[in-house]
Amino acid sequence: MLTYIVRRVLIGSVTLLLITVVVYALIRHMPGTPLTAAMTEMDPSKKLNPEDYERMRRAYGLDKPWYSAYFVWLGNVLRFDLGQSFAHKQPVTRVIGERLGPTLALSVSSLVLMYLLSIPLGLYSTARSGAPDERAISLLLYMLYSFPTFVAALLLQMTFAQYFDLLPLYHMHDDLEVYQQLSPAGKTWDLFKHALLPTACETYGGLAYYSRFIRANMMEVIRQDYVRTARAKGVGEARVVLVHAFRNTLIPLVTMVGLTLPSLLGGSVIIERIFVWPGIGNLFFDSITARDYPVIMCLTLVFSLLTLAGTLLADVLYAVVDPRVSYS
């Protein structure tokens, strides 16, 4: 097991290195530089004069070809220096750190909701398999699964924020002056109201997917002989489903946790953009348009690391929960 993990980590670090090379090459080949991208946003009369431009280019290492700039970047990363954001004029770690909280607030709550709701839903539809209400739920879940999040977000904004005027349209909290005068309870309530719609958008797709996943696994298990035996000896239906069958479908479910790791931090670019949520997804999109190389690279590094770690975690968990699986 240990040798397996060590081998995977070694292969993973090579993959990670290659990913950073590919992404660095790609973003350096995008037309424009952080300097020109920032200039087009400012008014044209404030254009940098050529000497200043040249000086800044050198200072940021933009005068070097991408491969030598890459090695400079890599050397800094290995010394735990992720660089300065061009657009925010702050260390990259701080820029990302500020956005981490809002994104985690959305993704963690939606993940918890997803598990809390999908397990009972999946179990219920197994128990009532074939009944009209189960058919209706399955159809509904299937439609939700295919429903584009951006359409759902707009529809939710239309109904709850605009038509009924119950919830705010976007942003994470009220205007800063109003927000800062609220009591702690008032602040929480305000954040809660703002987070409700984006969380709902981030949850429903996964909810539909997980419930169907649980039901599919349960349907496989429920046909097994030991379940029939349990029923034959007079175990109640609830106990059969929960204790005898469900416990045996936990294996694939546990490994799924590992695979959700990257999405936890990745956030959803689309949802964060629609709801003007100050999270990682929004930061990511903005950094690409602003050509903010250090931020893009750092986010790529984090995403790839999480993806690799997530798959490794899934495989290891698989061996932990299922004694039949071993990697030696």
Binding site: I27, F147, P148, Q157, M158, Y163, R223, I288
Partner: protein, 374 residues
Amino acid sequence: MSTVPVDPAETLAVDMVDRLAPASRGFWGEAWRRYRRRPMAMIALGYVVLLTLVAIFAPAIAGTKPIAVHYKGHWYFPALGYVYREWENPIFQQDRFRQIYPKNLEKKDPESWALWPPVYQDPYRRVREDEWPGQPANPSGVAGHPNRWNLLGTTQAGIDVFAQMVHGTRVALLVGFVSMGIAATIGIVLGALAGYLGGWVDMLLSRFIELIMCIPTLVLILALIAVLEKPTIWHIMAVIGATGWTGIARLTRAEFLKLRHIDFVTAAEAVGVGQGRIMFRYILPNALAPILVPVTFGIASAILTESALSFLGVGAPPPNPSWGKLLDAARGNPLQLWWLVVFPGAAIFLAVLAYNLIGEGLQEATDPRLRGGR
């Protein structure tokens, strides 16, 4: 053949079997029979056929150019200009039509005769007052809700939504087919090479697949689009295809690993069939069914990706009508522009749902493990 002596009893037996057992339908015939039994999958297939027809005949459904026109003694088909600009005969430009056909046809050749699309609306520009006799100018801004002349409303700029959606169908369907065609080709070729050749080829290709899988798709897509500088809709399709093949490659590899030691492959190798032929003529047809399922789901997600990109403002460049772009126009004030949310949203949803249902139907029809049971 006839000279070989045949045991009469055997001929009789073969004859009996032939008469008693119905002809074998073959794998795909059997799969189609199973597929047909699923009403939802059949409805979905019908819907995709309908969309295809709409996409093909879009210029004949909504447009401001006549489908066929008899002008100065010749027949022309200006509506084809919607498909490809060059196909609109230059004579109308020389005669200074300026894209306004109805009045100019009458003015410049009173004898002319034209067959018009049922809806006189253009997906690229605003229709003005009395362009078509008695038809008012398209409303603009928030006043463009659905009305008699604009069945599904207009955008803020006054361009008809129905016309844009009908013409946008072509983009949506093409995106699905072209990008998944690219993805399937890359995925099948790389997966086949890795699975069949094994060894260091497999090692290298597997690492490469893993590499692409780990790069966040959106980084890859956004960066590639940015590198292209002036992307056309074809570039977008290529980018979606070039980033969406990893799942197909892994599945193909697994299927090839499974099949490459089966007797018919060994037999073909023993006879000296070339490697390329074995991979693509012998093994691939047997591995096609499980590969086709993720391809179908991939079409759904390609349509979703394209509309999401258009929605984020990095999709197809402006003149191309796209469902996602209509949705984008409703951002910030969805309630007042509800028709820009509901109709394009429904179109995207139904197309994605249809492809997902087809994929599921295909899976249930071709996967022997899912047969029986119910």
